[in-house]
Amino acid sequence: MAARPVRRATAAILTGVTALTAAACANPDGAGNGAGGPRDSAVVGIAAEPDTLSPLLGYGKDGNSKIFDGLLALDAGMRLRPALATALPTVSADGLTYTYTLRKGVTFSDGTPFTARDVVFTYRAVLDPKTNNPSRSELDALKDVRATGDDTVVFTLKYPYAPFARRTVLAIAPEHIAGKQDVNSGPFTTRPIGTGPYILTGWTRGEKLTFRANPHYWGGAPAVEKFTMAVVKDDDVRATRLRAGDLDAAILPPNLAAGFRADKTRKAHTATTFDYRTVTLPSRNRVAGDVAVRRALDLAVDRQTMVDKILEGAGKPAYGPVPTDSPWFAKGTERRHDLAGARKILDEAGWKPGPDGVRVKNGVRAAFPLWYLSGDKLRQDHALAYASDAKKAGIEIATQAGTWEVIEPRMKTDAVLAGGGAPGDPDFDQYLLLKSELAGDGFNNMASYASPAVDRALEDGRRTSDPARRRAAYDTVQRELVKNPGYTFLTHVAHVYVVADRWTTAAGRLTTQVEPHEHGLGSGPWWNVEDWTPKQ
């Protein structure tokens, strides 16, 4: 008898649970299915989220932020085009003064007009040492910026710096908001207001960023009304949520993207990149610092196999930071996979095979450690393949995993599997990687590479704006790298995206830009989501 109330309670609870579960089942997926979701809203899956949304702290420095605009912007072909400026800047004959005329009638999304004061404020705030902007060194050439009227801004440089205009894609912040609070931790860093095509409506860290179209955007109101970026760190989870229709698009590793090949409702997009993987060969290491060893490694490594096996074809062999399909690439500097040639170089340099197969010269074994970032599968695979290729030439490379905290104190003497890549100008990567003065400066020139010819060419390349002289300078750099490779460049990694086939652009289909190493929020086929229109 007495058991009944208990039983009744159990039943009640079970009913409750069932009801709750049923309610959950009935709750429709907001995004609907892959091909059938609302056309004026897009949900994309990204792997990493920004630390901040404030341009003053580094967000949007490479342009193409959805919330902000820069003075200039880059198009699909990475050519500069005017954005908040009406035209490309006029540059003085000595290359030290850049003058921009600003677009009239632009307002921030809170309705306040955009003026030259906002531009001056933004650049001065970034240059201010009290601002915690880790990318400040990119504006190293800039001496001063001032407004000479409501719609004219003049930049003065410390030294002639040819690629400077490409730095002015930096997102512009509103002075009337960001200037009135702590630039390092004020509400603006998480709830930004800009002139861009989208307005941020929410940001739950680790979960998603949501945007709605800016109806008063100076470039015309975007057709995709709602735009969501879901932060999904795990590759498999991202692929699963894409398949389930929870996401309309996502970045995926090539092997997972291959699973969508047969899917007619989705399209894969492969973006070419400047995203290189390289092995630093520190000059201070007695083995890796030897030019003969460096040249031998450069020939012994089988880049095409790395592209085929590790990247599943989504990438290209790399011979330097400049990708082979870039107009800046010096034709003829490709290195053939040539194991016999590598052995010959080592033999001639006096590195003789020892009893265990590892070469020896003057009592020094041809062996050094190679570090890679733990948890990064791609770098691990590259490191292992590199070590195995080197072994065939008689060089023993011990691969070791570690965090940057472990690697950093060792990187002056040990090799590191590094990655990087900034498209836009050949100066961006090459100067930081190869300039001898930057040896050991933070993570710049990790290999402590030093070559007077390269140093001269790098200076030439940034100080002249004459295209022919610039080309000659970067050709020199790349040819010198063949003679003395301070790094073994392995691959340029292509970025693969899968997108529901529901949108189109004026170009006829979705496109991608040439992408950097780092995935900004604006990378991927949605780099110009403001130009997307639903397919009929």
């Binding site: 609870i13 630390d51 190293d140 931790s185």
Partner: protein, 321 residues
Amino acid sequence: MARMAARRALAAVPVLLGVTLAVFAVAAASPFDPVKAYAGTAGLTASQENLDQLRANLGADRPWYTRWWEWLGHALRGDLGDSGVMRQPVADVVAERIGWSALLAGTAFLVAILLGTLLGVLAARRRGGLLDRAVSSLAYTLEAAPAFWLGLLAVWFFALELGALPPGGLTDTAGDTVTAGQVATHLVLPALVLGLSQLPWFFLYVRQGVGDALDEDPVRGARARGLAERTVLTGHALRSGMLPMLTLVGSRIPELITGALLVETVFSWPGIAAATVQAAVSADFPLLAALTVLATAAVLLGNLLSDLLYGLADPRVGFDG
């Protein structure tokens, strides 16, 4: 009772001070570099000058005990400082997240206590019965299962295989408003997982307590007097059988906090846990210190609460004042 609470509060002060001091010392000794964590990938191309400036701005160049002393001074005046890694005042980080964590932990706790008590009483009534054997062995298995593993299992089964519940987040991916209905459906899995991971302790304590009580003389006496089974169970057995569980309520809180940490991570629940992990690996002193104080305070309060409840439920125990 009030005296006991006051005395405990007084004793909590040195504990909290010690804990924050230890947090600063351990974070400073850890290999994690706050400047590198702050700069992220941009730090890989930043100049040394830029990084040094950042170090000075973040105050990371000063010894940890100086920073602790300053932090303490500011904290006592109500200023918890700015979180480097979140680029926000610490108070904002905590305020934005603590509600969601409390909702999750509270629901889970409720699930564990209610379900644990219910099943415990049922199992105690027929010890050795089918229900008892089934639930008991399940409880021992659950006791050994880590919360994050249960979480992954739940995501796989309910979200991926059945597609019945959302795999993570606070609201639907496409939505940009937080509605009660969405939060409720998104809460089911994480709360159930966290609750289930706590269930075995409550279940086993209640089963044992009620079972023992049912064998005691007062209960047999009550039965002999012809009282209804229901009165015997709730009035006699449950009341004394529940006593050990009250202690458990307080002592489970640390486990609940660590469990929530893992469950929040698995389900991308925007609570305080993700912030804790980030604060720790970034050596973000102000945020880490505030979160540790919160966790310690929760544990101390939990212990106080369970002692108070015990005192109330059983007057023989009394209050230690």
